[in-house]
């Protein structure tokens, strides 16, 4: 399966470039003018990334996840979310690499085919690093008032947790 997905990026690039060679006069100049715009984009998003990632690292190292996990245990019980998945639920919207590291440890200790391992895997695959995505996209166009974006995204993340537990219990329970 991972052999099939390894085809995607090279194939997409070749299709784009070859079609460009057939349909336009100078592919490479189209490429470079697009790439120049890309460089400017990175330059404009760097400051907000520095600010946000420092805050995320602070939150991760402060033990906030442990405290919130403890506080949320009763809710996890009601919703049939395995207890050891809860820290991951809280970390997922904040840190992509952190969540991946935590998933790795969780699958190693709970077992790849355990209910906890499966719920954690489904959760990680079906959600995104909400805070990172939101900040990146809005700061790239200097939008400061994001209205209800974060609330709606967090509602979706929370539902994602519940639905992961439901589907795994349904298929493998």
């Amino acid at each position: 399966m991972s052999y099939i997905t390894a085809w995607f990026a090279p194939l997409v690039i070749c299709v784009i470039v070859v079609t460009g060679m057939i349909r336009t006069d100078n592919v490479f100049s189209h490429f470079t003018s697009g790439a120049t715009m890309g460089l400017k984009t990175v330059y404009s998003i760097a400051p907000s990334l520095v600010g946000l990632i420092v805050a995320v690292q602070m939150l991760k190292s402060s033990g906030a996840v442990d405290i919130l996990t403890y506080a949320l245990t009763p809710i996890a019980d009601i919703l049939h979310i395995p207890k050891d998945v809860m820290p991951l639920v809280l970390l997922r919207p904040v840190s992509g690499s952190g969540a991946l590291a935590m998933l790795d440890r969780l699958v190693a200790t709970a077992g790849a085919d355990s209910i906890s391992g499966r719920v954690a895997s489904v959760l990680c695959a079906s959600s995104e690093t909400t805070f990172y995505t939101t900040t990146l996209y809005f700061s790239s166009v200097r939008i400061k008032r994001i209205r209800h974006t974060l609330i709606a995204a967090l509602i979706a993340d929370f539902s994602c947790t519940i639905i992961s537990a439901i589907t795994v219990n349904l298929f493998f329970g």
Binding site: G34, T36, Q57, M58, R147
Partner: protein, 197 residues
């Protein structure tokens, strides 16, 4: 909003570190956070120009138009802007790249889409309805083949690493639908800019 979330995160970490006695770790994080932000920027510096260049080719050669045309019925249902606009093209490219699991390609398309949506946004600092819808589609994440997770499961001896794929599809699609419903309901109450673009 972002300002409050940002400040809140820092304040919360200070309080939690005081309770758990992890002040040295917190102090370290202040410095290592900046470093990891810069290393992220360096990796973006490699991928964003590459994929924005390819996007530019795909646009002038008509690939973008073709993909947008295929996604048109869904697009009409969710967004307010015209499915023929340039922003619509970038949005469709972003969604297709995400579904194929090409996160490195999806981000530049997404940033381009935000820029084009901002051109049509009457406000300088307030998000338009379409921007919010677009960001929500990205935070909900729909991926056809979840390779990363399958790799981790395979590494720890899963009998069949991909057996959760149906659970993942159902969960992703339900999450996306919930995000879009929450969006439609909440936007009535948030700011109430009557900006039908």
């Amino acid at each position: 909003m972002i300002s409050y979330v940002w400040g809140g995160m820092m304040l919360l970490s200070l309080i939690c570190a005081a309770i758990t006695g992890r002040m040295p770790e917190l102090s370290n994080a202040v410095f290592s956070g900046g470093e990891s932000a810069i290393s992220l920027c360096i990796s973006l510096l490699a991928t964003i120009p590459l994929w924005s260049g390819l996007m530019n080719i795909a646009e002038s050669s008509g690939i973008v138009r073709l993909i947008s045309r295929m996604l048109r019925p869904l697009f009409r249902l969710i967004f307010r802007i015209s499915p023929d606009s340039k922003a619509a093209g970038a949005i469709c490219m972003n969604v297709s790249a995400n579904m194929l699991g090409l996160a490195n390609a999806a981000t530049p398309f997404g940033i381009k889409a935000m820029g084009l949506l901002q051109d049509e946004n009457p406000s300088d600092d307030t998000a338009s309805d379409d921007m919010i819808t677009f960001v929500l589609i990205n935070t909900a994440s729909v991926q056809i083949i979840p390779t990363t997770v399958a790799q981790i499961r395979a590494k720890y001896g899963s009998a069949s690493p991909m057996d959760i794929i149906c659970c993942i599809w159902i969960t992703s699609i339900c999450t996306l639908i919930i995000a879009l419903i929450a969006n439609v309901i909440l936007r009535q109450f948030s700011g109430g800019r009557k900006c039908h673009i």
